[in-house]
């Protein structure tokens, strides 16, 4: 059952497997032919209450390639939010000026709330530490594109698995497919049990490691994340682990030929720049795939694809 038209996308779990695959198929069409002017009669609002580089620019690029109009802001400083306007009032106002609202907001759950009060569909472009479903869709697109399928993939997720929202959503989405998970992290940043329960309930396998190299020969996808120092209650502990999860080019020697390195970006130091020229590095193409996926999502929600 596919029901995407006029529906908000707040959390990746709002979509079933068929709906996810439908978006990825439409995105493939946009990768082949990106400049389809199907949005010429439409206005899309991008409301970014928080800074963003890739997400905002790729949404705006997606709309412009489709010939649509864009309104919005990249910071709430220039809006009535500074006068104390509520989120509800902002959404109700902007919905008068646009056909669809893309929103990033630092409050957890703000996207679900916006979707309940808005007469036009909302796409969640990140609500605090909660959800970022379009990142998840572009990750899935990148995995399928580089591996040929989403089934039977061994994915190694590396770094901060405790707080990283992208890895949590990706585990949820990949649990719809026959995935084997390899979780690599320091003890203090292990994958939460709620996420592991999700994997178990789906009847899938996961393995946990603290040694990065152990996972290298097994993975089809190496999904890197950043370890943030401020996550550690004890700075000494951070010092101990901060260099243990840095990927450099030499480490990729023992990896499979089909391995691709993904990263939601921005990176700090966990991906050495000498990896960039290795054909296994895929993170910048991954960011490019974000445009196709966002074109697909907008087109599907507006009922144009």
């Amino acid at each position: 059952m596919i029901n995407i038209k006029n529906r908000s996308l707040v959390s990746i779990t709002d979509y079933n497997k068929d709906e996810i695959l439908r978006i990825l198929d439409i995105a493939e069409g946009f990768e082949k032919d990106q400049r389809q002017k199907i949005l010429s009669d439409y206005v899309i609002a991008t409301l970014f209450f928080e800074p963003s580089t890739r997400t905002r620019l790729s949404f705006e690029s997606a709309v412009k390639y489709l010939g649509g109009g864009i309104i919005g802001f990249a910071s709430p400083d220039v809006t009535s939010v500074t006068k104390g306007e509520t989120l509800k009032d902002t959404i109700l106002t902007v919905s008068n000026y646009s056909d669809l609202i893309v929103m990033r907001n630092p409050m957890d759950g703000s996207a679900r709330y916006a979707s309940e009060v808005s007469p036009v569909p909302i796409i969640n472009a990140g609500d605090g530490a909660n959800q970022h479903p379009t990142q998840c869709l572009l990750d899935l697109y990148s995995i399928r594109k580089t591996q040929g399928s989403l089934d039977n993939i061994h994915i190694a997720m590396v770094g901060d698995l405790k707080y990283g929202r992208t890895v949590h959503s990706l585990v949820q989405a990949l649990s719809l497919f026959n995935t084997t998970f390899h979780f690599v992290s320091p003890e203090s940043l292990k994958m939460p049990s709620s996420v592991k329960t999700w994997v178990k309930k789906a009847g899938l396998e996961y393995h946990q490691y603290t040694d990065f190299m152990e996972v290298m020969p097994k993975a089809d996808i190496l999904y890197m994340t950043r370890i943030q120092g401020e996550r550690f209650p004890d700075p000494l502990e951070y010092e101990k682990v901060k260099n243990a999860y840095i990927l450099d080019n030499a480490m990729l020697e023992s990896s499979k030929d089909n391995l691709k390195v993904l990263h939601p970006l921005p990176r700090v130091n966990e991906l050495n720049e000498d990896v960039d020229d290795n054909p296994k590095a895929y993170y910048f193409q991954q960011a490019q795939n974000g445009v196709y996926v966002r074109q697909a999502l907008i087109a599907a929600i507006l009922g144009l694809k």
């Binding site: 989120l87 409050m107 957890d108 759950g109 703000s110 679900r112 709330y113 605090g128 049990s193």
Partner: protein, 155 residues
Amino acid sequence: MNNKRTELKVSAIRNGTVIDHIPAENVFRVFKILNLDNTNRQVYIGTNLDSKKYGKKGIIKISNKYFENEEISKIAIVAPTATIIEIEDYDVIKKENVALPESIDNIVKCFNPKCVTNHQKVPTSFRVIEDHRGKMKLLCRYCEKTMGQENIDFI
């Protein structure tokens, strides 16, 4: 003889409600949730009473008061083992275990300080779920965080 003494530890009431099998450590939370510190009715409280089933238990008896479903569901969150007994003229007219509702709306706060419900005028809404150990948790409809009993704070 011994049995009789145990039963008489808390006085019987003629009409009203007995809330039995409250986890001993949550008796005062139940008391607070039901707003019993502001009642003019007679209230008896017992705590750390022996219970065959639970080891220690608490009990609250309120004269001339019967509770609505919404109030009962509030109790269920902190005292899922509780039994609600309605008394008329010293006779038990109704006895039932509290039941956790599927959702808890606008009764408890979200413990996540970054949740939208703590910043905008949004009524809270939680789904009642069990974690992998079978413990009750509340899943926030908005921020999607789960909180355990220890984090529950009422609006």
